[in-house]
Amino acid sequence: MQTRREMLTRSATVVGLLAAAGLLPQTAQAAWSQAAFEAKSVADAVKALGGAAPVESRDVTITGPDIAENGAVVPVGCATALPGVKRLLLLVEKNPSALAAVFDITDAVEANVNTRVKMGQSSNVVAVAMMSDGKVLFAQKEIKVTLGGCGG
C-alpha cells in the first residue's frame, strides 16, 4: 500500500523526502484505513483494504488459546512462511468491527506477529496474509470466551 507516515521525529530527512515526493498524507489519521476498521465482516474489511476475496490456506497459521478466560485480553498471532507477504491482518469475526490489526511487512521482518485482542464473545479469529501477487490467503480458529471483553 501507499507509503506510510514516518513517525520517528529524528527521521526528518526521510519525512522531507516523502513530502517532496508527495507521498506524505496530510494528517496522521489519513493513513488509518477507516473504512476497513468500520467493516462488519472479514470479507468487507479485506475488500476495504483493496484485497481480493480471501481463500483458506494451510500456509497461513493463526495462533491463540482454545479458550480465553477473559475476552478483554486474548493472545493471538498470525504467521506464514510464504515469500512475498505484503500485509498480515488479524480479525475477530463476531466483534462489532471485525478488523483488529493490520501489519505492513517488509523484508526486514518475518511474517509472524503476535498481539492481544478483545473479544466480545466466542468467535472465529481470522489471520489473513495479503501477498504481493494479489492473492489473499486466510486461516481461522475458533476461540471460546468465558467472559466478554467489550462490556462493562
Binding site: 488459546p65 482454545d66 479458550i67 480465553a68 478466560e69 477473559n70 478483554a72 485480553v73 493472545p75 492481544r116 464473545q121 466466542s122 475458533e142 471460546k144 470466551v145 468465558t146 467472559l147 466478554g148 462490556g151 462493562g152
Partner: protein, 266 residues
C-alpha cells in the same frame, strides 16, 4: 466488576460443553494463562514505579531514594518479602503502601492523609501502586520472611488473624469463608488457602498483580479492598489497621513462599 460473575456464567453456560477442542476447560484456561505470562503489562507499572522512585517530586522536590522500607535507607531489594513490619519512626506496623506514603510525606512533602483519601488508580494513589509494583519486583524470586520479633509485630499478626475470621454483614462472610479450606474454588477460580503457606507465588506472594479483567494494576490494599467489597462489608480505609494486620497475618503464614509479584491475574 459486578457483571463479572453473571457474564462469565452466561458465557460458559452458552458454551454448554465441558471440553473445548479436545482439552478440558481447566487445561484450556491454564494454557491461556500461560500465554499471557510472557508480556505481563505489570512491567509498564514496574518501569513507572522505578522512575517515580528516582525522580525528584513533591513540594520538597526530592526523590524517594532515602526511603527506609525496613532494611535501611534506600534498600529496596528484599524489602517487599519482609513487609508489613514495625517502624520505629512512625511507631507503627506498616505495609509497603502505607510505608511509601510515609516516605512521600517525610521526604517529598506530600500530604499523606490526602493520598490515603484518593481513590485507587488516581493521582498520587496510582503512583503509590506503581512504586509498590516496582519494589515488589525487586524482590521477585525471594522468599517471604516477615519479622515477628517485636511485640507490635506479633500483635499485628494476632489482630490480623481475628480480622481474617471476622464474620459479619448480610452474607455472613469472613475471609475464612473462601480462604479457610484447601482446594476450593468460586466458579472456576481457585481459592488460595491463606491460614498457612499456600505455596510459591500463590495468594500473598502474587500481589501486586495486573488484572486482566479490567486492565488495572492492583496493589495488596486494593486486593483486600475488593475482598471486603465482595464480603459485603463496608469500605476499609486505605492503610487501615485491619488491612495491615491482615497483611501481617497472610505474610507471616506465607513464610518461605517465593514471591512472583508483580503477577498477572484474571
Amino acid at each position: 466488576m459486578k457483571t463479572f460473575v453473571v457474564g462469565m456464567a452466561a458465557m460458559l453456560g452458552a458454551l454448554g460443553i465441558a471440553r473445548a477442542q479436545g482439552k478440558s476447560v481447566v487445561e484450556g484456561i491454564a494454557e491461556y494463562r500461560k500465554m499471557l505470562e510472557d508480556g505481563n503489562p505489570a512491567d509498564l507499572f514496574e518501569a513507572k514505579g522505578e522512575s517515580l522512585w528516582k525522580t525528584p517530586r513533591g513540594p520538597k522536590n526530592a526523590t524517594l531514594e532515602q526511603c527506609d522500607l525496613g532494611k535501611g535507607q534506600g534498600v529496596v531489594k528484599g524489602a517487599f518479602v519482609e513487609l508489613p513490619r514495625y517502624f520505629a519512626d512512625t511507631k507503627k506496623v506498616q505495609d509497603l503502601e502505607t510505608r511509601l506514603v510515609t516516605c512521600m510525606e517525610t521526604l517529598q512533602g506530600f500530604n499523606g492523609a490526602d493520598i490515603a483519601k484518593t481513590p485507587f488508580g488516581r493521582g498520587e494513589q496510582a503512583n503509590v501502586t506503581a512504586l509498590a509494583t516496582w519494589i515488589a519486583a525487586e524482590s521477585r524470586g525471594m522468599r517471604f520472611s516477615l519479622p515477628q520479633g517485636r511485640v507490635e509485630e506479633k500483635k499485628s499478626y494476632e489482630i490480623g488473624k481475628r480480622v481474617f475470621f471476622y464474620r459479619a454483614g448480610p452474607y455472613d462472610f469472613s475471609c475464612a469463608t473462601c480462604h479457610g479450606q484447601d482446594g476450593k474454588r468460586i466458579r472456576l477460580q481457585d481459592l488460595p488457602m491463606l491460614t498457612k503457606n499456600p505455596g510459591d507465588g500463590i495468594g500473598f506472594a502474587a500481589w501486586p498483580a495486573y488484572r486482566v479483567s479490567n486492565g488495572e494494576m492492583w496493589s495488596m490494599q486494593l486486593r483486600l479492598n475488593d475482598c471486603f467489597r465482595q464480603q459485603r462489608l463496608p469500605y476499609p480505609n486505605f492503610g487501615s489497621e485491619a488491612t495491615i494486620a491482615l497483611g501481617t497475618y497472610m505474610g507471616v503464614n506465607a513464610k518461605g513462599a517465593e514471591s512472583i509479584a508483580p503477577s498477572i491475574r484474571r
